[in-house]
Symmetry: C2
Subunit: 207 residues, 2 copies
């Protein structure tokens, strides 16, 4: 998906998105017209002792912190991480198509409702002072019944592989989503409504 971009908010300082996700990039364009993307190579292994909320905050923080430490001067670094959770089981990005199929099968069976958790860390250095925001957002997604043939067709588009839970509701897969409860952009991968509030509070975007 590509958004038509319009310069909307005037940006006063350098903004860095610490993510390679094209979805996060498009969402950030909703509120800022110019920013850099620097991708962190940190270890994204989950810590089994943590809750889903703690996992996504931790990983968003590791990503943001890594890029913050590698850059200088006045800047805002935005890190984010998304996981899918159903019946206590955590789903990250699938390692192969077999695993991707299995993920969709499990998410589309039983009660067919799962949670999406997205963590958000924003680190701001302005006039020598450092501020750090750590938060998360949860949204619920309910799938329709999906046949094996439909799952295969989706997996064959090649779009399942780099997404937590092996799906993206903004792609063709969207027809299999019955309903959501919560913030849509949190599900896509970046709670842009929260990013907006933090940047506004810090006068990084001018209203």
């Amino acid at each position: 998906m590509i958004y038509l971009i319009k310069i909307y908010h005037k940006v006063k300082m350098k903004i860095i998105l610490a993510s390679s996700s094209p979805r996060r990039k498009e969402l950030l364009k909703m509120i800022v017209s110019k920013f850099d993307i620097i991708v962190s190579g940190v270890d994204e292994t989950l810590d089994p002792s943590l809750t889903p909320q703690q996992q996504v905050i931790r990983l968003s923080n590791i990503k943001a912190k890594d890029i913050f430490d590698k850059t200088q001067e006045s800047r805002v670094v935005i890190g984010s991480d998304t996981i899918v959770v159903k019946d206590g089981k955590i789903y990250g990005k699938p390692k192969n198509t077999k695993q991707a199929k299995q993920m969709i099968k499990e998410l589309a069976s039983g009660n067919r409702t799962h949670s999406v958790f997205t963590g958000l860390t924003i680190i701001i250095e302005a006039e020598g002072k450092i501020k750090q925001y750590k938060t998360y957002d949860e949204a619920k997604v309910t799938f329709k019944e999906i046949s094996d043939k439909e799952i295969d067709k989706w997996i064959n588009t090649g779009k399942a592989m780099d997404k937590a839970g092996a799906y993206a509701m903004q792609e063709e897969f969207g027809v299999f989503v019955e309903r959501i409860e919560g913030n849509y952009n949190t599900i896509v991968g970046l709670p842009i409504h929260k990013v907006y509030d933090i940047l506004k509070e810090n006068k990084i975007i001018k209203i």
Copy 2:
């Protein structure tokens, strides 16, 4: 918003979308690669004696029927209509910027939650037989608090005017949407999950 289009489902017969909405066009592209757009010029005045559900079904039907009657041979005509309802008051497309501002102000005040109703009519003629589907979908949207300055800024983008309720959550306005309950695409303007089911049931798209 523009989607990257990939041919996904093979289409067997002519499909006509009876709507000028670029959002509906993009959503239909999620499931069919080729279709015509023919815009109906029918009177879209609301009938005050009807419920919101009846309004959107009626208008989606008038639009689809008009185009169906003007075309021949095997075809599928898709008509849709969207309204916003809060505290019993119906919000269609604003007539001017003053009305657009007023709409957002009202939707963002009080409980800040409103309903979006989208009606859907699909008329299919195949092998001389005519089938008609009429349905609707409802979703709830909760706004954040929005300042007058932020409302002005949104209205000044010029994107408020052709939308029911004077907003589009897939545009910059998306940062003011706290949460939704229901189907995202119903809010955008076309319950594509329902279109998919009807076209699948009629083997118009091949899985």
